[in-house]
Structure formats: structure tokens, C-alpha cells
């Protein structure tokens, strides 16, 4: 494998990492505040649908982005009401959101576009296009650094850069601001936050809404940048893989970047080499496709170090227990 191929695979890994990274950070916000979120998948799917629909109708990718975030936020409100206000089971609420998104997207899509649940293909301004960073072409001649800059760093859509920037931003807010400290405390010991006179419910709602915005970005990226339109079930389990990456990353932002890049890389390799030959053995393509899921199980089994979730995760907070 030459340097060019490696660069191409890395480049593709970066694109495939983006929705995973955004969803993983979304889950990180929610779970750090003590609200489990199995519904990342559904939020992304809903966002992908609303983004693609609005982008198709208006021909404007930015309006699509706004709609994507709004679609995902609507699902977040459902999750918040069920799991924070009514102290329901957070896992069940997440599962319900996934089915709701899966059904509603096709139902509404068929009603609006009559294309069997798809949206029309997006072209031109309705999609996010690659941005070429300055001097990318000029520097191409420089050995090693030049091609890396031109192929890998430059030439992505704005959402890829936004996703990567969300990592330091998340880190800074969570670990260097008062809001972040309180938010993490709510996930570990909500009673202490309550004693300090800060509303547990409000903090958790804030976290769930931030989670919704990030899932909105992820879904919009899927439908308007990675693909050119919405197809039913287009998230294809990415929400669950993001959750696994979150556990792998032990709920830390920088580790989330590494974990999701690993999954992106695996998907890129699987796309590039549909069947892998090891000596006389040919690994069937079904196995290669199932690899991310198998790896997820292995990671969850803790063979790469034990992960401790936020202590109050999944438990509704009852004042005066």
C-alpha cells in the first residue's frame, strides 16, 4: 500500500468519523449530566430527514442545517420530558425515540415527496461542499507535509471542521467553566448540586438540549454532506456505535475523537477492501461489514480497560428522597 492510498483511506476515515464524533460528543454531554441516551440514532435520523427535506425544498444547505437541529431538538424535548420531568426509564424513552424517528421520517417523507420515504437528491447549494484551505494546491509539492495538508486537512465540508472544533470546545466548557463543573456534578451526585441551590432539572435539560444540537449537526452532515439526500434508515446504527465509542473513550472529549476516528477508519477500510484475503482464507464481506459491531462488543467487554460511567447515570433525580 503506497502513501497515496493511505492518505485516501485516512481522508475517507475523517469523513466517516464526523457523524460518529458529533453523536459521541452529544452522548457525552447528556450522559455526563446523568441522562442516558440510547436515542442518539433516532435524533440523527430525524435531523437527517428534516435537514434534507428543507434543503431540498429551499435549495439552501444552511436552512437545512437549521431544520436538522430543530428536528433533533424536538426529539430531545420528548426525551427530556420523559426522563427528567416525569422521571421515566431513560433507556425505554430512548428506544421509543428511535422507533418514532424511524417511522415518522418515512411517513412524512412519503407524504411530502412521494418517493417511497426518500427525499429528492440534493444538488448545488442544497448541499455542503468541500472547502479548500488556502495554499493547499501551492503546498502540494512539499514532501509528506504537502500531500497531507492538501488531501487530509483541506477539502472537507465545514461540518467536519465544526465537529473537530467541538472537541476542544466541549473539553473547555466541561472542565474549565462553572457550568461544566455543575453539569458534571449533576451526573455524579445530583443531591450535592441541589444542596448548593442549583436546579438539577434545569442543568439536565441544558445537557439534553446540547445533545440535541450536536445530533442535529450529525444528522445534517449525513444527509447534506456525506450523502446527497435522505434515505430511510440512513443512520444504519451509527448512534449505537457512537455510544460504544463513548464508553471506549470513558466519557472524555479528546478520547472520543480518537475512538470515533478508529471506527471511521474501520468503516473506510471496509469500504475500500470489501473482502480481505489472509493467506488462503478469504474473509467474507458480510464479516467485514459486521466488524464495527463485533469490535464494539469487544470494546464493551472491557478488554481495553475498565470504563466507569458517571455515577448517577440513568437515575432520575427525586428531590427529598
Amino acid at each position: 500500500m503506497d502513501f497515496g492510498t493511505v492518505l485516501q483511506i485516512m481522508d475517507s476515515a475523517l469523513r466517516l468519523m464526523t457523524p460518529l464524533l458529533l453523536a459521541c460528543l452529544a452522548g457525552l454531554w447528556s450522559e455526563r449530566a446523568g441522562v442516558f441516551d440510547i436515542g442518539l440514532e433516532g435524533k440523527m435520523l430525524m435531523a437527517a430527514f428534516t435537514a434534507a427535506s428543507v434543503a431540498a425544498v429551499t435549495g439552501n444547505a444552511w436552512l437545512g442545517l437549521a431544520a436538522g437541529i430543530a428536528g433533533s431538538l424536538a426529539m430531545s424535548v420528548v426525551h427530556g420530558v420523559a426522563s427528567i420531568t416525569f422521571r421515566g426509564n431513560q433507556l425505554i424513552s430512548g428506544v421509543a425515540i428511535n422507533f418514532l424517528a424511524s417511522g415518522l421520517t418515512v411517513l412524512l417523507g412519503q407524504r411530502i415527496f412521494q418517493l417511497g420515504g426518500r427525499t429528492p437528491s440534493l444538488t448545488g447549494e442544497a448541499r455542503f461542499h468541500a472547502i479548500h484551505l488556502p495554499f493547499a494546491q501551492e503546498l502540494r509539492g512539499v514532501p509528506v507535509v504537502g500531500p497531507v495538508y492538501a488531501e487530509l486537512v483541506s477539502g472537507h465540508t465545514i461540518l467536519v471542521y465544526v465537529a473537530v472544533l467541538c472537541v476542544p470546545l466541549t473539553w473547555w466548557v466541561l472542565y474549565r467553566t462553572r457550568f461544566g463543573l455543575r453539569l458534571r456534578a449533576v451526573g455524579e451526585n445530583p443531591a450535592s448540586v441541589d444542596t448548593a441551590g442549583v436546579s438539577v432539572q434545569r442543568l439536565r435539560y441544558a445537557a439534553v438540549m446540547i445533545c440535541g444540537v450536536l445530533c442535529g449537526l450529525a444528522g445534517t452532515y449525513l444527509a447534506t454532506a456525506l450523502s446527497a439526500g435522505f434515505v430511510r434508515e440512513m443512520t444504519a446504527g451509527r448512534g449505537y456505535i457512537a455510544l460504544a465509542a463513548l464508553i471506549f473513550a470513558k466519557w472524555r472529549p479528546w478520547h472520543a475523537l480518537l475512538a470515533t476516528f478508529l471506527f471511521g477508519l474501520m468503516e473506510a477500510v471496509a469500504n475500500r477492501f470489501p473482502s480481505i484475503e489472509i493467506g488462503p482464507l478469504t474473509v467474507p464481506s458480510m464479516f467485514v461489514n459486521a466488524l464495527p459491531y463485533i469490535l464494539t462488543v469487544i470494546i464493551l467487554a472491557g478488554f481495553v480497560g475498565r470504563a466507569t460511567p458517571p455515577r448517577a447515570g440513568g437515575e432520575p433525580y427525586v428531590k427529598e428522597r
Binding site: 420523559a82 421515566g88 431513560q90 417511522g103 418515512v106 411517513l107 455510544l243 459491531y293 462488543v297 464493551l300
Partner: protein, 364 residues
């Protein structure tokens, strides 16, 4: 706040929750420009208006009884098994292998043998997530979801590369031998001289499902293991203190759960298709979640909820045939039922409890 009376907790709350879910579903139908009342009439006519409709409704309900029981057994142990779909896929593989490669002399023996194979395969598929949960603390919800994806890939591989007859383009096994064909309910009715439900897939598996309900009830409320499962589900520290092994209960509950999901294959693979096809499960594993939540994890409740979802499934098919409403309406209703009976439970329970407290005060 005083707890609700038992009957209100078991019957009234789920009933109100389901009505709320249906009310929102009606709004969704309105929103896509159709008439919910007309839609309901089409569904009732399609699913319950003829013995033909009933034949399909009962067939679907049979599937959902198995997957619903699977979810509820795990739920009693405090485990949320979302892997019913994958376990049912593997159950189909087990049933197919038993039907194809063992020369059964009679369908009744084949039903027992293939059913055992299906349950075994389903249980095996639940075993790894169970062990990982018990031993390594990896979250069973995510591992069972992953096993659903892996099961789909495995079935795809088996059907395309291994079990597909040479010369066939269709990713499916060859038809099962005639000795393994299960009698349908219409054949049984004809035996009694009745003309009922011709050309419908409802078959003798329905009685297996009823039997499974009874056995699960006996297991959960009348055996030592069932007591241990419930104790563990209510409070893990208390169960541990009572000398109940968490690993043993987690593994056993998941094996039974997976076995029940796998047993579903006697209905859809052996009873209906009479060969193994891709997507034989058709989401029944996921509907099991809604069925278990709505049925309050009680076998009788599960049976009633399964019947309701059987009606929705067949009615939804009729809707897609005769109106502009796609089948996915059922997914939306399923999601709303899960949301209202599972997650928004307190939304109904809190005002109800207040109402009952008020009533009690007035009575006193």
C-alpha cells in the same frame, strides 16, 4: 403519596397510556392528510372483519407473544433485552437447519425438534451478552443491539454463501420437506367441518404460544427460579444478600429470554414460509418491547397486547394496500405505545394517584 390500588396499577394506567398513544397516532394520521376514523374502519375491516383477516391477525399475534414474553422474562430480572430481533433471526436458522437436515417422520415430532433447535440457537445468541453483562459489566442494551446487527450479517452470509441451493438467485434456503409442514388453523377447522380462514398463515404454533404463556407464568410466580429472578430484578444488593448469584440469574434469565425469542421461528419460518428467507423476523423482536411494556410483563397482558399488535400489523397492511398511508404508521404507533406505557408512565400515574387520594379522603 399513597400507592395506587393494584387494579389501577395493572389495568387502568396501561389502558390510559395506550389510549393516549392512539390519540397521538390519530393526530399523526390527520397531519399526513388522512382521516383517522376512516383509517380505523379500514384497519378493523381488514384485520377483524373476516376469518381471512383473523387468520393473519392471529399469525402476527403468535410472533409477538413469543417476543413479548422474551422481553418480559428478562425485564423481571431487571435486564432490558433489545436483542429479541437477533435472537429470533438465530432461532430461524436453528429451525431451518433442523427441518432441512433431520428426516422427521411426522410434523408433531418436527415441531418439538425444530422448536428445541430454534430455542437453543436463540438462547445461545443471548448467552454472550448475558455473560458480558454479568462478568464484565458491559451494558446489555448496547451489546444486544450489536448482536442484532451481527445476526443480520450472519444470516445474510449463511443464506447467500452456504444454504442457498445451487442455481438459485434468491437468498433463501430450499423449501422444507413436506413432513415438517405444520397444520394451519384453517386445515384444523376444515377437519372439524368448518370453513375458516382459508389461505392464512395462522398455524398450530398459536397453541405453542399459549402454552409458553402458561409456562412463563408458572416460572415467574410459582418456582424458586422465578422468585430469584424477581428478587434480583427488584434489588440486586438484596438478592446478593439472600445468597442469589447475580451471574447465575443474569445468564439464566437471558437464556430463557433468548430461547423464547428463538422459539418464535416455529411460527414464521416453519409455519408460514416453510423455508428460511432474509428478513423473516420483520421487526417482531422490536415489537416485543412494546408488547411487554404494554402487557405489564404479565403473560396475560402480553397475550392481550400481542393480539392488539397483531391487529395493528394486519390492519396496517390493509391500510397500505387501500389508502395512501404507508406501513410505517405501525412503527410510529409502536413507538408511541413504548413511550407512553414505558417512559411516560408517571405522566398518567401521578395525576391518577392524586385522584385516588382525593377519592379516599372523601370516602373517609
Amino acid at each position: 403519596m399513597e400507592p395506587l390500588p393494584r387494579w389501577a396499577d395493572m389495568v387502568l394506567t396501561p389502558l390510559i397510556s395506550v389510549l393516549l398513544a392512539f390519540a397521538i397516532s390519530a393526530l399523526v394520521i390527520l397531519a399526513i392528510g388522512e382521516n383517522p376514523w376512516e383509517a380505523l374502519k379500514v384497519m378493523v375491516a381488514g384485520a377483524l372483519g373476516s376469518s381471512y383477516g383473523w387468520g393473519f391477525t392471529l399469525y402476527y399475534a403468535t410472533n409477538f407473544v413469543f417476543t413479548g414474553l422474551a422481553v418480559s422474562v428478562a425485564y423481571h430480572a431487571g435486564l432490558f433485552n433489545i436483542g429479541g430481533e437477533g435472537q429470533a433471526v438465530l432461532g430461524g436458522l436453528g429451525v431451518a437447519l433442523a427441518c432441512l437436515f433431520i428426516p422427521w417422520p411426522h410434523w408433531s415430532l418436527a415441531l418439538i425438534g425444530a422448536g428445541a433447535a430454534g430455542a437453543l440457537f436463540g438462547a445461545a445468541w443471548a448467552l454472550i451478552p448475558a455473560i458480558l453483562q454479568a462478568r464484565r459489566g458491559s451494558h446489555i442494551v448496547i451489546t444486544t443491539i450489536m448482536f442484532n446487527f451481527i445476526a443480520a450479517a450472519l444470516l445474510n452470509h449463511m443464506l447467500v454463501n452456504v444454504l442457498r441451493p445451487t442455481g438459485s438467485m434468491d437468498p433463501a434456503t430450499r423449501a422444507f420437506p413436506p413432513a415438517t409442514h405444520l397444520p394451519t388453523l384453517s386445515q384444523m377447522a376444515a377437519g372439524l367441518g368448518l370453513d375458516w380462514g382459508r389461505h392464512t398463515p395462522a398455524n398450530v404454533s398459536l397453541f405453542v404460544a399459549v402454552l409458553a404463556c402458561v409456562l412463563v407464568w408458572l416460572l415467574i410466580w410459582r418456582t424458586r427460579l422465578g422468585y430469584e429472578i424477581r428478587a434480583f430484578g427488584k434489588s440486586e444488593p438484596a438478592a446478593l444478600y439472600a445468597g442469589i448469584s447475580p451471574t447465575r440469574i443474569t445468564v439464566l434469565a437471558m437464556l430463557i429470554s433468548g430461547g423464547l425469542a428463538g422459539l418464535m421461528a416455529v411460527n414464521n419460518v416453519m409455519g408460514e414460509a416453510e423455508r428460511l428467507v432474509l428478513n423473516a423476523v420483520e421487526g417482531a423482536g422490536f415489537i416485543g418491547i412494546a408488547v411487554a411494556l404494554m402487557g405489564r410483563n404479565h403473560p396475560l397482558g402480553v397475550a392481550l397486547a400481542a393480539l392488539l399488535f397483531g391487529f395493528l400489523y394486519q390492519g396496517g397492511g390493509t391500510l397500505a394496500l387501500f389508502t395512501q398511508i404507508p406501513r410505517e404508521l405501525i412503527t410510529v404507533i409502536q413507538a408511541l405505545v413504548i413511550l407512553f406505557t414505558g417512559a411516560l408512565d408517571n405522566m398518567v400515574r401521578m395525576p391518577l394517584a392524586r385522584l385516588f387520594a382525593l377519592h379516599r379522603k372523601r370516602g373517609a
